[in-house]
Every structure is written in structure tokens, then in C-alpha cells.
């Protein structure tokens, strides 16, 4: 991949504190460093506090969560709140629906974005640059402009309240972001490899499948991660295209859970917090497992654009 990963590069010192030359300044530099760490830690706290508060709230009892002043940490950890999420609302069903949609859409997005990117990198055809420019400009297209006719189209096809509107479009190009990312990567694979295979009589499908894809592991992983996040967390599509509880995804299910009293009358804030954590957890875990792919994906598509 053409981009280097920011984290592994030596830092270019932008301030006097970090350039070695001034180390003789001593005390001044020391306090500069202390200030920097203080700011970095305070910022980290500001970003983390809401998570901490959500976790803490999710483990409180209905009484404790409404206590003033609030307790920072529950006296007794009520893990049963998490079980209650599944007892009160069909969350297992929501998870299943989301998994099915996410997996199928991911497969479609990866395969079709890779195929399109391959077409744009390895073949010369009239209008190639113009078409690629159109691909890129669709990144700027706000969803609102197409949502009404798309809804009418899916309604005409009788796809409303099925998973199809959330899956099928992924098989058609997979989105400009991913096409661009994969194209950038494919361009770094030496053409000699395809040429050699071509001389041996390999078809373009074979070259794509046996040479390009196996060499693109990291780029495919990046696409897979962002594709997962996109579909797992999608809100507007399911909101518009799904309308019965048995079809809901986690996002819509969580909102449904929030606005719908279900059977219980008691305050359910703690359970709502637990449900939010269940919904957010896969994305957060994914980040910890695959951090380097995040940076790569953002930097390639952001900067090289």
C-alpha cells in the first residue's frame, strides 16, 4: 500500500519540546512535557467518561440509577440487566437479523468493489478516467437525494420489509469508498505478475482470483472492517425499509426498545444502557483487534483523494 502508517513513522517534531537540540533548556522543557501529558490525559478522560458512565449506569438497579447525587460506581453490580435486555425485547432476533444482513452485504461489497477496482486498474477502455471521476463524485452525493425514489423502487419490487434493500445494492459496485481504496492498492501490485500469467494463457478471471486477490489481503481486510461497521451500525436504511419487529436490526431494535414501553412499567434506564452497550460492543472490539487497518483505510481514502 502506498501509504505509510502514521503510528510507525518517527514523529516529525513540530514544537521545540520535541526537537532534541533544545534539551539543554531543562526546566522549561520539562514543564512543557508535563503540560502536554496533562492535556493529552484530560482529553482522553473527556472522550472516555461517557463510556464509563454508560457501563456504570448499565449495572445499576432501577432505584440506584435515579439516586441524587449519582453514584459513580454501583454498590452492587447487576449483571442481570444484560439478561433482561434479551428477556424484555427480542434482542437475539435483532442480532440474528443484523448478522445475516451484515454478512451478505459484506460479501457483496467486497467482491463487487474488488471486481470494479480490478477493471479500473488493469484494463484500458475509452472513458475510463471520466467514469472513475464519476465513481469518486458519488462519494459527495448525499443519501437524501436518492432515498425517496429508492424507496418507491423497492416498494414497486415488493422488497419493503425484507432484507433485500439492505443487501442487494451492495452487490452493485460496493460503494465509491471501497472501489477507490482497492484501486489504490491494486495499482501497487506489479503488472509483470499478470503479464506472465497472461502469457501462460490465464484468463482475466483467473488472474483476478489467483493473483490479485491473494496479494491484496491487507486491503481486503480494511474493506471488510469498514463494510462491517457500515452495515452493522446502519440506521437510516433499516428505519425506512423495515417495519415489523421480527425484521428489525439492532439499530432499529434499540430505538424501538427505547420508545416502546413493552410490558414493564418500572424505569428501564439501566437496561437501556445495557442494550446500548450490547449494540456498540462489536464495533469497539473490532477496533482493538484490527487497529492498524483502520488507520490505513482512513489515510488512503482520505489523503490520497
Amino acid at each position: 500500500m502506498a501509504t505509510t502508517q502514521p503510528s510507525v513513522r518517527p514523529m516529525a517534531g513540530a514544537t521545540p519540546q520535541s526537537t532534541g537540540k533544545r534539551s539543554s533548556l531543562g526546566a522549561n522543557q520539562f514543564w512543557g512535557q508535563v503540560m502536554l501529558y496533562a492535556i493529552a490525559i484530560l482529553t482522553a478522560l473527556a472522550f472516555s467518561l461517557p463510556f464509563f458512565w454508560t457501563v456504570s449506569s448499565s449495572l445499576k438497579s432501577a432505584a440506584e440509577i435515579r439516586q441524587i447525587p449519582p453514584a459513580f460506581w454501583p454498590a452492587e453490580l447487576r449483571w442481570v440487566n444484560y439478561a433482561d435486555v434479551f428477556r424484555i425485547a427480542p434482542f437475539a432476533k435483532f442480532i440474528w437479523n443484523t448478522t445475516v444482513i451484515t454478512l451478505l452485504a459484506m460479501i457483496g461489497q467486497i467482491i463487487s468493489a474488488a471486481a470494479v477496482a480490478y477493471g479500473f486498474t488493469r484494463f484500458r477502455f475509452p472513458g475510463r478516467e471520466t467514469l472513475f471521476f464519476v465513481v469518486l463524485s458519488t462519494m459527495m452525493l448525499p443519501w437524501q437525494v436518492t432515498i425517496v425514489p429508492q424507496f418507491l423502487l423497492f416498494r414497486y419490487l415488493d422488497w419493503i420489509n425484507t432484507f433485500l434493500p439492505l443487501i442487494v445494492p451492495s452487490f452493485f459496485g460496493g460503494g465509491a469508498f471501497f472501489i477507490f481504496l482497492l484501486r489504490q492498492f491494486f495499482m501497487t501490485i506489479p503488472r509483470d505478475l499478470d503479464e506472465a500469467a497472461k502469457l501462460d494463457g490465464a484468463s482475466s478471471v483467473r488472474i483476478f482470483w489467483n493473483i490479485i486477490l491473494p496479494l491484496s489481503g491487507p486491503a481486503i481486510a480494511t474493506v471488510a472492517i469498514f463494510s462491517f461497521l457500515q452495515h452493522w451500525n446502519e440506521f437510516i436504511g433499516p428505519l425506512i425499509f423495515l417495519n415489523t419487529e421480527d425484521k428489525f436490526t439492532l439499530s432499529i431494535g434499540l430505538r424501538y426498545f427505547m420508545v416502546n414501553p413493552f410490558e414493564s412499567d418500572e424505569p428501564r434506564e439501566a437496561i437501556l444502557m445495557a442494550a446500548s452497550i450490547i449494540v456498540a460492543l462489536p464495533s469497539l472490539i473490532l477496533f482493538f483487534v484490527a487497529q492498524k487497518y483502520f488507520v490505513r483505510g482512513i489515510v488512503t481514502t482520505g489523503l490520497k483523494g
Binding site: 513540530a14 502536554l36 472522550f47 459527495m140 425517496v148 456498540a280 487497529q291 488507520v295
Partner: protein, 309 residues
């Protein structure tokens, strides 16, 4: 003679070999072409046609000409307020957000130990799914029981009603947006840009006696100005499309205080089923965003510096 026979026949499309290559190329990109026609271009054109009609689901479109646009600009009492509200939100969240992202990136660009841990902690909020984000902050900003007002109380400030207060609802949504975007992709992009600023330039400026601010203003900013522009344009498009947080946390309330343009469009389309009118709103939005992006790129000639141009 023999030469002429052996020479491959060429048409305007080139040699047979080139034609074959072109054909294969078109085949490979055909999924995108079909997707673009069916899910992007087709709907854009269809929505333009619909915007000129009165169309309720189940009926037939009834030709209206420009009446929908006239209604939006002159008769719809929610139209202009929703647009101003969105502009207010967008301006504040983009300017503050881009600035804070740049500051966070500059902080991470220092020689801090545990830099990757800090980067991860700053980035995590941007991964929170939007529904969880809205629920979590609704709880944090709860006027009586929320943590934010409790902490404000500790330092002697009587916290406002936030999402339940007409005047504080938009600032609350700006706050939520900042939390979930400042450390996200925008910061990572700034960080990569900062790391591309050559160390020698900084040192040369320092040698010439430039202080930290002058070096930032005259070396760093010009060199990362294309990144700043990129983040601004995407920020404006993103913030003008503000929908989900407001829809989930306030449903446009209290008393229309967070009734952003997209909520107006959404309710017209999917609650009142005024598909024609909603399409007109979508087109107004489209043209508006287009002009805004164009202006930003035009104005950027004056402050964006491209190294190789």
C-alpha cells in the same frame, strides 16, 4: 503487399486486441455501472421528475410544475427555519470540530509516550453506533439525573435542560456531534498530514527565529491546507445531513428546536407520504450542497497551497 495484409485492422475503437481489452474492462466495471444507473442516477432523475408532481404513495403523479418549490420557498412555515437551524448547527459543529480535530492531531504528533493508546481513546467515540450514541448522551445530559449537570453543579453552575430546552437543544446536539467526530477519521487524516510536513522546514524556520505560533501559521498550515479544505468540505456535507441523532434523541423537538432540514424531508416523505414535495426538498438540498462545495473550492484558491502546482 504482405505488410498490408499482416497489419492488424484498426477501427475507431483500435485493434481487435484493444477492443477485447476494452470490452473486458467494461464487463469488470459493469456491476458499478448498473448500480450507479439503478441506485444513483436513476433515482436522482426520478426525484427531479417527482419534485414537479404531487405524488402520494399508491396514487399516480399529478403534474404541478414548480408548485412544490414555490410551496417550499414561500408557504411552508417550517422550511426556512429548518434551513437556518441546520446552517447554525453546521457552521458551529464544523468550525469547532475541524479546529479541535487539528489540535488533537497536533497533540498526538508530539513525542508522547503511549501515543497509540491516546489515539485509540480519542478514536473510540466515533465508532459508537448512532442509536447508542443518542441514548447514551440523552442519559448524560438528563437535566436532573445526568452526569453532566451533576458535574456542573459541583463547580457551582446550574446546568441547563439541554435536549429538553428550546435554546439548549442545538448546542447539546453540537456537543454530541463533537464528542463523536473530533477524534475520528478527521483527526487521523490531520495526523497523517502533519506527519508529511518535512522536519527540515520546521527546523529551518526555527533557526530563522520563528516562534511556535509563526511556525504553525507559516509552515504547518500552508502545507496541510489541502487536508484542511478536504475536512471542511466533507464536514459541511456531513453536518448539513444531520439527521439520526436529532431524530432519535429529540424527534425534532422540543417545539421544533431541532427540526433540521433532513427531519423535515424525512417526515414529509415517510410520515406524511408527500413524495413529490419531499423530492423537491431533496433537490433544493442537493443544489444547495453543490453550491456550497463549489464555493469552498473556489474560495480555497486564496488559502490552499498545493506543493506541486
Amino acid at each position: 503487399m504482405a505488410n498490408q495484409v499482416l497489419k492488424p485492422r484498426t477501427s475507431w475503437l483500435g485493434s481487435p486486441l484493444q477492443r477485447r481489452e476494452a470490452l473486458e474492462g467494461y464487463l469488470w466495471i459493469s456491476p458499478w455501472v448498473i448500480g450507479f444507473l439503478v441506485f444513483s442516477l436513476g433515482p436522482i432523475l426520478a426525484s427531479f421528475y417527482l419534485s414537479l408532481t404531487k405524488y402520494k404513495i399508491g396514487g399516480t403523479p399529478e403534474w404541478l410544475g414548480l408548485a412544490n418549490y414555490q410551496q417550499a420557498f414561500f408557504d411552508d412555515k417550517l422550511f426556512w427555519p429548518s434551513l437556518w437551524r441546520t446552517a447554525y448547527f453546521s457552521l458551529a459543529s464544523v468550525i469547532i470540530g475541524v479546529l479541535l480535530s487539528l489540535l488533537a492531531a497536533m497533540l498526538l504528533n508530539q513525542n508522547l509516550k503511549g501515543k497509540t493508546v491516546f489515539r485509540a481513546l480519542y478514536y473510540l467515540p466515533s465508532l459508537t453506533p448512532v442509536v447508542a450514541l443518542a441514548i447514551l448522551w440523552q442519559w448524560l445530559l438528563q437535566p436532573q439525573l445526568g452526569l453532566i449537570n451533576y458535574l456542573l453543579g459541583q463547580v457551582g453552575i446550574q446546568g441547563p435542560g439541554w435536549l429538553t430546552d428550546r435554546n439548549w437543544a442545538i448546542p447539546a446536539i453540537i456537543l454530541i456531534t463533537l464528542w463523536s467526530t473530533v477524534g475520528g477519521g478527521r483527526m487521523i487524516i490531520f495526523l497523517a498530514g502533519l506527519q508529511g510536513v518535512p522536519k527540515e522546514l520546521q527546523e529551518a524556520a526555527e533557526m530563522d527565529g520563528a516562534n511556535a505560533w509563526q511556525r504553525f501559521r507559516n509552515v504547518t498550515v500552508p502545507l496541510i491546507s489541502p487536508v484542511i479544505l478536504f475536512n471542511f468540505i466533507l464536514g459541511v456535507i456531513g453536518s448539513f445531513s444531520v439527521f439520526s441523532v436529532a431524530y432519535i434523541a429529540t424527534e425534532g423537538g422540543p417545539n421544533y428546536a431541532t427540526w433540521f432540514f433532513m427531519l423535515h424531508l424525512y417526515y414529509n416523505a415517510f410520515s406524511y407520504f408527500q413524495m413529490g414535495y419531499a423530492s423537491a426538498l431533496a433537490w433544493i438540498f442537493f443544489v444547495f450542497i453543490f453550491i456550497l462545495s463549489y464555493l469552498q473550492i473556489k474560495l480555497s484558491d486564496r488559502w490552499v497551497y498545493y506543493e506541486f502546482s
